[in-house]
């Protein structure tokens, strides 16, 4: 059973989601993130999906839940690293993760969080 590592960078929490996350690990991650948010007062969370090759409806719903919980705690989430195959599958499953900020990779995600999310003006 692999746990999802959560790292703190400034006032941002970074969680790297591993491929083949067990359901219990996913729930543990939800708990860990919300607990850490409360404890550290972090204002942003970066969820890195770069190594994830399969996202089914369970993981999709869990993701929606964790983003909602983070929002309730006054922080912003950015999901990064979604692979083309995963993106297409999510959309075909009808789980486009509406209302969740996304970026290409961790670098872009950090920039999005660092500059405050203003979708009208993005800089490279």
């Amino acid at each position: 059973m692999a746990r999802v590592p959560i790292i703190r960078v400034g006032d941002i929490l970074l969680a790297t989601i591993q491929e083949d996350l067990h359901d219990s690990d996913a729930l543990a991650m939800q708990e860990a993130l919300t607990t850490q948010l409360e404890r550290t007062g972090a204002r942003g969370v970066l969820l890195d999906f770069t190594t994830v090759q399969t996202v089914d409806s369970f993981l999709g719903r869990m993701l929606n839940d964790v983003v909602a919980a983070i929002r309730l705690l006054g922080a912003t989430t950015v999901v990064v690293g979604i692979q083309p195959a995963v993106a297409v599958t999510l959309v075909e499953l009808g789980l486009e993760l509406k209302g969740i900020q996304t970026a290409l990779d961790a670098e872009r995600g950090m920039r999005l969080l660092g500059m405050g999310i203003d979708t009208n003006r993005r800089h490279r």
């Binding site: 083949d20 090759q53 409806s57 719903r61 297409v88 075909e92 499953l93 009808g94």
Partner: protein, 137 residues
């Protein structure tokens, strides 16, 4: 006619088996020449069906049978079966209202969209057999 040696039987009996089943399905898909997108579709579909077994079947037990299809351009078939309570109304389960919801629903419409063919053999008290197929294009 199919090479039975390539058939993979994976018992479903808990979280680990959901992951095992979808990993094996992905591996077979890859070896059969399916592209990355189709591999993901297949892995996701198998994950959905295996999860239904864990969630709804008696003792959460069942089986996934993964096999190559030799006809035409070739394809892959997965048969997920269990001896659970069965689906009372298959048509309703296939309707889109049963897709989302918090842990409810069996994700069957979504699974159907990912695959080329899906057959459901189920009824109250007689278990469930879901067969899905995807063909090389």
């Amino acid at each position: 006619m199919s090479d039975a040696q390539l058939d993979l039987r994976i018992p479903i009996d808990g979280e680990d088996s959901i992951i095992a089943a979808r990993q094996r399905a992905r591996q077979l898909a890859q070896s059969l020449g399916f592209g990355a997108l189709d591999q993901s579709r297949i892995a996701t579909a198998v994950s959905e069906l295996a999860r239904n077994v864990v969630r709804y079947a008696t003792d959460g037990k069942g089986e996934a049978l993964i096999r190559p299809l030799p006809e035409g351009k070739g394809g892959l078939e997965v048969v997920v079966s269990d001896a659970g309570p069965g689906i009372a109304d298959v048509d309703q389960a296939l309707g889109d209202g049963f897709t989302s919801g918090r842990g409810l629903g069996m994700g069957l419409p979504g699974t159907r969209r990912l695959m080329d063919e899906m057959e459901i053999d189920s009824g109250p008290g007689r278990g469930t057999i879901v067969t899905i197929r995807k063909w090389r294009r």
